[in-house]
Symmetry: C2
Subunit: 699 residues, 2 copies
């Protein structure tokens, strides 16, 4: 294989490499298609379209201002990606266009689920043509072209190609929880830009939580005035964001979580609650007792007016009513509610919640919307029109589809859990039990949504928790099901990640600012050891963070090493795959051993360099146990590597001791809410070095 | 000396270390005062004021909305610097305030030169008090407090201190040229934030150039419509920026450069020019022929109306009329102008320009403003009320003062020239010939201005060309004259630089984006070698860039290694000072030798790692000669170090050869518009290693 797209790293896509087989290449490194999501069909040709300052863009066919704006944004983004200063920053005459865009007709006035997003893109050495039925397809194709432009030894260029593309799933979303931590509009806007870049088409806006009610209600102003601490979106801002999203082919689905997760509503409107109040905005994390009173007709009267107002504000056909995690304690403690249950034959709190849910769904339908809710709203007898968002597991989605309900998958796509991109990437909305659905049932699985719950993110680090991993989820939702090789995904991820930073996200650059704050200095030299720790470690996974140290609240500063480390360490991932390659060579690959050794030596020695800083900064000091654990663990791995290369096997007893030592070091790192992601690789080296292990056979 | 302000690096200030002498300290590293500019008087005490989430701010005395806004911005900035989430983001009751601010009275409705900016700041373990005569002093003191908060082993805190502070110079400016490269408002706003942080008080807005006329004129709309390529500031935006600046205690002085540097005016108004036209917006850099016609009464009629409009738009008392660099060619070529000169006894073009300048100054005065202009406007007989901005040398400023003219210094503060912070820092408005002025004459030297001419900056890298070096200039203009130790300045610069990035500037983080664009990937591993080159090299200095390669224009992409490297390499600066320390130890400091060796080995080996990337990216390939030169030069220095440590002197012949080799390598780097800043240090090692050199005496 050869290096067709210089500047992008190695990934082999069979179709492309075959097509390119005959072309003269510049180096020996394998081919990469710098696209994420991967298109449905791609046929590569020979040659390149040069992209320089004379690049021009034109529209033919159906026209609308949104397309003109998309054209200008495209040129601005192409400028950011290349640095090129274009002669024209507006569209040009079709005859002079480098990229000619043809649109057949308009799309719907309010973007709908299942609208045509397909496009074709033809690149020849003399020009490129993008064709789509409607503006949505154009938006998708423009992003493909932007990713397709690559740096080469001779300038920027777009290789000759023919692409026919459309999404596998209709609903490809990103949810951002603006309830627990408020996110300024600028944060949402840059994330919408990121969504557009990877062809996500639904922004699910989680707008109310125990910790905050984030929407201006003109009908019930006490909701936002008393329930937000001053941090809410005005209706004008919301209309602006919806327009911003529409320009990018993104629907906006609002969520108002009911009857639980609703403490913030009750600060201004305690009469809605099942308890006695008064209520305060919640500062802690978790599931709390307050819940709406399902037995009070005034609740429904209120919600009728409220939903009417919000249904007008948010044009999308879907309206998310939450419905998750009600613990029922307020209901149990309220004698009136207990009496009501008996009187109406509601045998338990699930039945009571189902009753509430049905009443609210009726209101949503009355105001012209389709209800969507979390798993819990699916109870016997609920109308088939609702959409289920599965967070408890993929099987519940399949079960819903079997009963005829539409659904979207979020289980497996919670980006707050700190999973690797590969782990999210392996989750398929039609995987697991859904694989056994009939084709008709499978059509009910609309897609999926990455979910960014915001206990441990603020405007400074939220991008790093969403990106670039959500690009892998976006590929899962857009690309053919057989595009699923994690190695190929990881080869492209740093390329897409770089584009995303130039789109305006700061998921890479945030880290430097946080490191330097902890160090109290911007000196590259002074921060080197801290940077090395931050680049090697990851935050603890899943919900383990809650159990460590002081109970966190919405006022806990997110300024620690655990907040600065990336959810997925590149250095540790590369180290781990090199260990796999080394072991696959039966430890005969000397060059690989030398690479491993260099990294281990660096990690082993790093903690000593961190100590001076740890003495000066409490934030560095707090992470010292983790830094020390990394260095000690690297020493253990280094010793194992030494034994392998020297041919001196480790005794099983010593191995066990070392394993225990590594486990203790991992626990030590946990105290700083950190984990050592290379630890399994260290264990593999130990295994291989143990008498009878893979690499102890005399060579 | 001890480590009083942990997290900040070493600098010794005599006053402070004496005062702190009795306090128990945590480490052996010397004291640093993390302030820039250094206050006029600072008396340290013992103990610390803890800064945590309960921090509260209150105002007493004179109140105005600007102060409330300053309070909110202060809390937001303190949040950014610490990550702390404050219980109150508004001001609190004075009794509950951690920082109590007392203001005596209002400042002028339009900020004036010489208004009182003094303040006192008292920090005790139980609270802090800031007192100032007017809001300007409060703004200055708030920035001092923000810098004073530091990270310690136990949290964030502000050490006990008593500060009485006021500026040395009244006029402390930053000029940004928005003519050659247009800068969006967001760029100007974040730079105003940076100015506030280091107590600069004048934003000099260079608004018209050959390459663009950047202000909306309602009177003469063809000026901006035809002269800006669509890139101009509306009057509403300008009013917004002026208000933004006023909130930060910054005056806004507009500059309209006349009669030269004015091609862009003539695109819409060729009748103002001395040539025949038609005119196009200039794309090249340099001094061009077009100039206003000083002999045409219509020119003055036009300028009268135009200045009337602009004098209204910009409230500042000063109005900058440029006046620099007229080459006179259009005047010479115009028979009518030549005849006019004869008829009016204007013996040469200087006289003609003086005549024009006087007429324009009269218009400026007529519209209520004080004219300011570059050196050239100072001609015999010009009224004493004008202010001279010296760009041709400090001596011209002294000469002006001797004649009774007020002046400000910019010669020595041109940040586009790529000088080191130390070199700018050494320039004093009262240095050179000005040192010999009488005290009365010295008062005429109002201060200075850093100047950011924009041939080689765009919105992406402009911050890195202004900051952090302008913080050193700001200290020169604010702090007592005897605050001038470059080592102490460099010890504080990375601390201030970190604050400035958290203020919203991107002078540090821009580099990662540019490196990754050149590499086509965000992989830390793949970009490591390129990062190492970028961190070691600097752009060529002064105006040498013009002479290299293809002639640059306003459409030349600023995406190259030369645009990504910092004007001052930390790695090279630290290496160079370590060489000095090593030589000062007569090469006996073994630890220092080992540090030097490690850096040289890394540089020497780096180019080999860059080659794969250079084969894939034309932007990396272009810098390859410089990368290769760095590695080769480091090899030479390494060999010299070897000879020193082995005690094998270099022959004078070989030394000459090596010197010649280094010079050739520097020229090789120049081809990529780069320079190797460690080269003088390499030469010092060679000198020391040569027979008879400093380190060849047997030890």
């Amino acid at each position: 294989m050869r290096n067709l797209f210089p500047g992008k790293i190695a990934v082999f896509l069979p179709l492309l490499s075959l097509a390119f087989g005959a072309i003269s290449m510049r180096s020996q490194s394998p081919t990469v298609v710098p696209l994420m999501p991967t298109p449905a069909k791609l046929q590569a040709g020979s040659g390149f379209l040069r992209v320089d300052e004379m690049f021009g863009l034109a529209f033919t066919g159906y026209r609308e201002p949104r397309l003109e704006r998309a054209g200008r944004r495209f040129l601005e983004q192409l400028h950011r990606q290349t640095g090129l200063v274009f002669a024209s920053r507006e569209t040009v005459e079709p005859a002079k266009a480098t990229l000619l865009i043809t649109t057949d007709h308009e799309s719907k006035a309010v973007q709908e689920v299942g609208e045509d997003e397909s496009y074709t893109l033809e690149v020849t050495p003399s020009g490129a043509k993008l064709h789509a039925a409607n503006p949505l397809g154009v938006l998708r194709g423009l992003q493909t072209f932007l990713q397709w432009v690559t740096i080469t030894p001779d300038g920027f260029s777009a290789p000759v190609v023919s692409i026919q593309d459309q999404p596998r799933f209709l609903w490809r979303g990103l949810m951002i929880d603006t309830g627990r931590h408020f996110m300024p509009l600028a944060v949402l806007e840059r994330n919408l830009d990121g969504m557009e870049a990877v062809k996500l088409n639904v922004f699910h806006w989680h707008l109310s939580e125990n910790q905050g009610f984030r929407v201006e209600s003109q009908k019930y102003p006490k909701l936002h005035e008393l329930g937000s601490g001053g941090f809410y979106y005005t209706q004008e801002e919301i209309r602006g964001l919806i327009a911003y999203a529409r320009d990018r082919g993104i629907r906006v689905v609002p969520e108002f979580d009911m009857p639980g997760h609703s403490t913030a509503w009750f600060v201004g409107h305690p009469e809605l609650a099942s308890g006695t109040g008064p209520y305060q905005i919640e500062r802690k994390w978790g599931v709390f007792d307050p819940a709406m009173d399902p037995t009070n007709e005034k609740t429904y009267k209120f919600l009728n007016e409220f939903i009417a107002e919000m249904a007008k504000l948010f044009p999308d056909a879907f309206f998310h009513i939450g419905g998750d995690e009600v613990n029922g304690k307020e209901w149990d403690a309220n004698a009136g509610i207990q009496a009501y249950k008996k009187a109406h034959g509601l045998k338990d709190n699930n039945a009571l919640q189902a009753y509430f849910s049905q009443r609210v769904q009726d209101l949503v339908v009355k105001h012209g919307k389709t209800p969507i809710g979390w798993d819990e709203i699916l109870v016997p007898g609920v109308p088939k029109s609702i959409v289920i968002q599965s967070w408890r597991g993929a099987d519940s989605l399949a079960a819903a589809a079997k009963q005829g309900y539409r659904g979207i998958l979020s289980s497996g796509y919670y980006v707050d859990l700190g999973w690797s991109a590969a782990r999210h990437y392996a989750v398929d909305p039609l995987g697991g039990a859904a694989a056994n659905l009939t084709p008709e049932e499978q059509k009910l699985v609309l897609g999926g949504e990455a979910c960014m719950w915001s206990e441990y993110v603020d405007p400074e680090n939220i991008d790093s928790r969403i990106w670039p991993r959500s690009a892998a989820i976006a590929e899962r939702l857009w690309s053919p099901a057989d595009v699923r090789d994690p190695a190929a995904m990881y080869a492209r991820l740093p390329v897409i990640s770089q584009d995303l930073e130039l789109v305006g996200l700061n998921h890479l650059t945030y880290q430097r600012r946080m490191i330097e704050r902890m160090a109290g200095s911007a000196s590259t030299e002074e921060t080197a050891a801290l940077r090395s720790v931050v680049e090697a470690l990851e935050p603890v996974k899943d919900y383990t963070r809650e159990g460590i140290g002081v109970e966190p609240t919405s006022q806990t500063p997110l300024n620690r090493v655990a907040d600065a480390v990336s959810p997925e360490s590149e250095a540790s991932r590369l180290f781990s795959s090199r260990v796999d390659e080394y072991l696959a060579s039966s430890c005969k690959d000397v060059a690989k051993a030398s690479e491993l050794r260099a990294q281990l030596v660096q990690w082993a020695g790093n903690d000593a360099h961190l100590r001076a800083l740890a003495e000066r900064s409490f934030l560095v000091k707090e992470a010292s146990p983790a830094s020390s654990a990394l260095s000690q663990a690297a020493e253990v791995a280094l010793a194992a590597l030494d034994r392998i290369t020297l041919g001196v096997p480790l005794s099983p007893e010593l191995k066990k001791q070392q394993f225990d030592g590594l486990s203790a070091l991992e626990l030590q790192a946990h105290k700083a809410q950190l984990t050592i992601p290379a630890l399994p690789a260290f264990q593999k080296l130990l295994e291989a070095a143990t008498a009878g292990g893979a690499c102890t056979i005399p060579r």
